[in-house]
Every structure is written in C-alpha cells, then in structure tokens.
Symmetry: C2
Subunit: 363 residues, 2 copies
Amino acid sequence: MSTDLHIVVPAGGSGTRLWPLSRAASPKFLHPLTGTERSLLQATYDRLTPLVTPEFIHVVTGTSHATAVARQLPEVPERNILVEPMPRDSCAAIALAAAVIAKENPDAIMASFAADHLIADPGAFVDTVRAAVEGAKAGRLMTIGITPTGPETGFGYLRCSSVPVPGTAQPILEFREKPSAEVAAEYVASGEYLWNASMFVWRVSAFLEALAEHRPDVLEPVRRIVAARDTAAEEQVLAEVWPTIPKVAVDYAVMEPAAAQGRVATVPGDFGWSDIGDFDTLGELLAKTCDGAAVVGEGEVICLDTEDSVVVPHGGRLVALLGVRDLIVVDTPDALLVARRDRTQDVKKVTELLKERGLTGFL
Amino acid sequence: MSTDLHIVVPAGGSGTRLWPLSRAASPKFLHPLTGTERSLLQATYDRLTPLVTPEFIHVVTGTSHATAVARQLPEVPERNILVEPMPRDSCAAIALAAAVIAKENPDAIMASFAADHLIADPGAFVDTVRAAVEGAKAGRLMTIGITPTGPETGFGYLRCSSVPVPGTAQPILEFREKPSAEVAAEYVASGEYLWNASMFVWRVSAFLEALAEHRPDVLEPVRRIVAARDTAAEEQVLAEVWPTIPKVAVDYAVMEPAAAQGRVATVPGDFGWSDIGDFDTLGELLAKTCDGAAVVGEGEVICLDTEDSVVVPHGGRLVALLGVRDLIVVDTPDALLVARRDRTQDVKKVTELLKERGLTGFL
C-alpha cells in the first residue's frame, strides 16, 4: 500500500516575518529551527519516513535552493527534486508534482506538506495522515485541519459540517480567510472550525480533475511541461512555459471551489503543529531562558533587568540587553532587527521598506 | 608669553558607559564622536592650537594607546607623549606631566584638559583658558567651572563664593561630589554652583607645592621617575616605581583640600561643553534624524513606527527598528547593546557583568 503513497514537499517562500534570520537566499526551511541540528526541511523529511521510503518523497523548490535541498536530503532521488525556474505560488508547484506522479501512476495517492512547519508529536501526525489517506482512496480531496489552540488571526480556517472528531473524516463546508480577532474568537468558541495548514491528501487523478475544472489555465501549461519531461526539449519547455502559469494558491484556486461542491473532507489533527511564522512563536517554542530573555540558538547573550524578550543571536557576536522588555532582537552577520514583540506580524513591512529603498541585498 | 604655557591632555579611561562602542582597546577619545572625521582627541588638540604650538602640548596615556595617540597627533613631539605602564588615576598622570614640565621650567603655567570632551564654541573656550592663565600667574590653582545647563546628577559641582560672573575669576569654597536629583536642583537654582569638568590651570610650582603638602606619597615616586628621565635607568625606574603610586583622582587628592585652604579659584566657562558620557547625550549632540530615530554615524538604518531612540550603527550592518521607543541600539562588529534610554548610566553594569562572567574579550 505504501507504494501507492507519494509525498510532496513544496519548499518555497522566504518567510519574510522571520527576516533577517530567514532570507530569500537562506529561507526558513533551510534553518535548524527545530530544537535540534536538523533543519525544518530535514525535520519534515524525518517525520515522513514512517509513511514512505525516500523514492516516494518529492520536493518542489526554486533555483536558488535546489542544491541546498539536494544536500540536506541526500536520500531523496535527484529526479524527485523538481526545480521551478521562478516562484508561481502553490497551485503551480503542487500541480507540477501531481502531474509528474500521475505520469507514472494515475491512481497514486499524493500528500502535500509544507517544508517549514514544526510538529511536536510526529506519531500522532503519521496516524492522522493515514486516516486522511483512507479518505483520499474513497475519492475525496482531503485536508488535515489543525485543532485550534487559540483564536489566532494569522491563519485561514476550515468550516466543518459539525464539531470535528479527531481521527475521523468529515466534510468541509468552506475555506475561510484570515479572520479578525472577534471572528476568530467566534470560530474557536463554536468548535466547528479548524486551522488550514495547507496539508492535502488526494488521489492525483481526483486533484487533476478538479484542477481541469477550476483552473485549466494552470493545468494546461503543467501538462505541456510534464509531457516534455525526459526529452531533449525538457529544459526549454520548462523555461518557456512555466512563467506563463498564473500565480495562485492551491487553497483558493482548487480547494475552495471543490469544497463548495462537497468534494473536500478533513481529518482533524492535534499533534502540536506550528508554522513558526514569527519570532514570537519561535521564542515560545524553541528558546532556552537566559537572564529573563528567551534565547533561540547558541550565541552569547547577557541580560540585565530584561523581561519577556526574545533574542536570536545568529551573528556570532555578543548580544547585551539592559532594562528592556517585550522586545525581539535578531542578530545576523549583515543585518540586525530590534522590534516590539507585539509587532512581529509586521516584520514583513520592514522587508517591503527595504525593497522600496533598493536595499534588496538584505532580503 | 605662550612659551610659558604648557597644556597636558590626560588620555585615559575607556568610557564604560559608551560600551560597546568604547572599549579598553579602543577608548572613547580615539573615536570620531565629534560630528567630523576628527577623533575626540584630535578635536581636543585642534582647539588647543590657538593657545600654544605643538611642542607645548603633552599627552599622558596608557601603553595600549600610545601608538594610536602618536599617529592621531603627528605634530606633537614623541617626547611629549608620556606613557604610563598602567593606569594610576588622574593625580599620578597630572603629577608626572607637571614634574616633567617643571624640570625644564619650574615657573611654567600648565593647563590640563581631558582628551574626550566636546566643546561647541572653541573661541569662548580659548578666552576662558586665557582668563584662567592670568589667575594661575597670580599663584592660584585655577579650575574652569562649567555653567550648568540643567540639574545633572552625573557631574561633581564647584561651590563658588557668590554667583559667578563669566570670564571673571573668583574663589571656590568647596568641591561637591555627584549629587542626588533634589540636591542638584537646589545647586542649579542657587546660581552659585558650576560643574566640575576637571579643567585645571596652575603654575607647575604651585601645584607641586600643594601636592607635596597633601599627597607626598604621589609626589615622591613621581620625582624619582622624572629624575631618571633621559638616563639609562629611565624605563626600569618607571616600571618599578609607577605601580607603587596610589590611585587617586587629582580633584579629591589636591584640589579639594587646597580649596578648603582658599587656594583654588575658578573662571566660569560657558562654551557648549559636554563630556559625551553616555549614549543619551551622544544621541542629543551628534545624531542625524532618520525615520524617528537619532542615528550617530554613517551606517544603514531603517525605522518603522520608532520614537525617541538612538542608533549607533558601527558594525557595518543594516539596523532595522520596528515599533520601538526610548531605546539605545549600539551595533559594533563583535558586540551589540540594546538598552532602555533611561538606563544609559547603567551600561557600565553590563561591563561589570561581562567581567564577572569572564567575557573580558568584549571589554
């Protein structure tokens, strides 16, 4: 049975809310933000190995990171590392992987998990995936919805048909975008909502059918690219056709309209998931306490009269804090960020400002 | 007349409240904290040149800084750069210079000014020094007292016999140590107090007499060292005798008891003086505004929603601030300080903590 399951890991996105630690040239998924020496990508790989052997693991990544991915995951066959000539968002990346897998086996089950999430209980994760695989075999487009631990406004939500039961598949009525604080509180109070972590499981044929229906403008160029795979024209077709694919997220392009058609179901997951989306979360999950500050990493830190602050000493230098509170201090070899802790969601605004000012070397 | 005036610049002290910019190996006076490319030491030299030619300028400094001083002040004769084998505080440094000058000309007038102060109006400074020289010729131990601009608690105060008149010498009744905030407010309200900036002018014979009376334990070893100067035993005597000199500040050792004897007078100075003692002052005096932060120096700084903060980008890296206020951020190649602005007086506590933890390489 495991020979039928392929797992796709889209490894893109630079994690702008983790700037300056995460960069275009050195994105979040390549960093060891796991509490061990393994990178987020490697930890993702590690928790997939109970489900499949390495030949069934595929990574979709950009030109800048293909070599790093290849070295961080030496067990994954080179052929399984699909390199996008430029980022075209998740629908294109996932469609490419689905079409590549379908070319070999149209009945294969495919599961897709981001490269830069953290999961505290890998055993519970594996069990949840297995339950979702069963739903996918029955022809449904499955998603794993995360049992909310609070009224987060940074995530999209999945509206279930009733209060979800862990380990049991049930239909998804609707994908809801990131809510306001009040709406998020209502969602969580109702018990009928799960976080959308963009974890998907489906038969590749079922997904490609839905894609054909809702976004033929994505499927058509992907089909041309996959048709040219393993021919002399492969690189040229990829280079010419890939840039024409619309940039759209698979959640909105396919799963939302499919949910409205009653074709999407979920298995609720409760396995200590985090997308480590910002420094606030990073400090909570991975820091060791040092003189009243949460320190992520191994650098030298000195704190005097400091409270509720997070330090990421990643520049190889001494970091000293005096009399401060509620701060995020991120030190890297060429850039330093000092931010109020409750503004961590706005770190991407700093990266936008850098772009405006032409300081793109720091992105 | 100018041939009678010698000027001594004690260039010691690492400026621990300016850590990590100022270090034991790279003290405040060697840094260009002047708004130009000239270091504080060079700016000190520059404002002395209307008073004397370079052969009459002497610098007393430590072994670690002798070469830097020699290169920063190429006009000062090598012989005039007196090198202390180890720091023994200001009484020893000034006594050594006084004895060296007295050996050539016991009737010479000597003036002493720190190497790391900033003066906005050098013309007014020169006029004030000239007025003090007249007082010194009359045999008094003169000090230049700074007209207070506010009730500062970081300075010692000079108690005058009556409200001082600018440019006019008058007796000092007492040296007062750093006061509390309430006491400082009383001092300033009375109009009878000046800040003690340790600027002294005297006939060397008058100073050495006062030293003989109040601190023979300092004078005696200094005499032995100066007697050996220009002999084969010079280095050996210096190395053996210097460490035996008591560590004491000249203000307390000589000027305080001399004031009690009615031998000290002052000329009030109002020439935009600052000792640039901490980052708060540095930000006020030397910063250019950038997105709501005061930036000292030339580094790249990006600020979003930032208020009343001071950035010293001295590490060659980008510094980004987001949503912070009342902070001091000092970036250097090997150490970073983030401090609440009202804690700048406590920066030296950070250096003490570094010492405790054996991180002396950062001092």
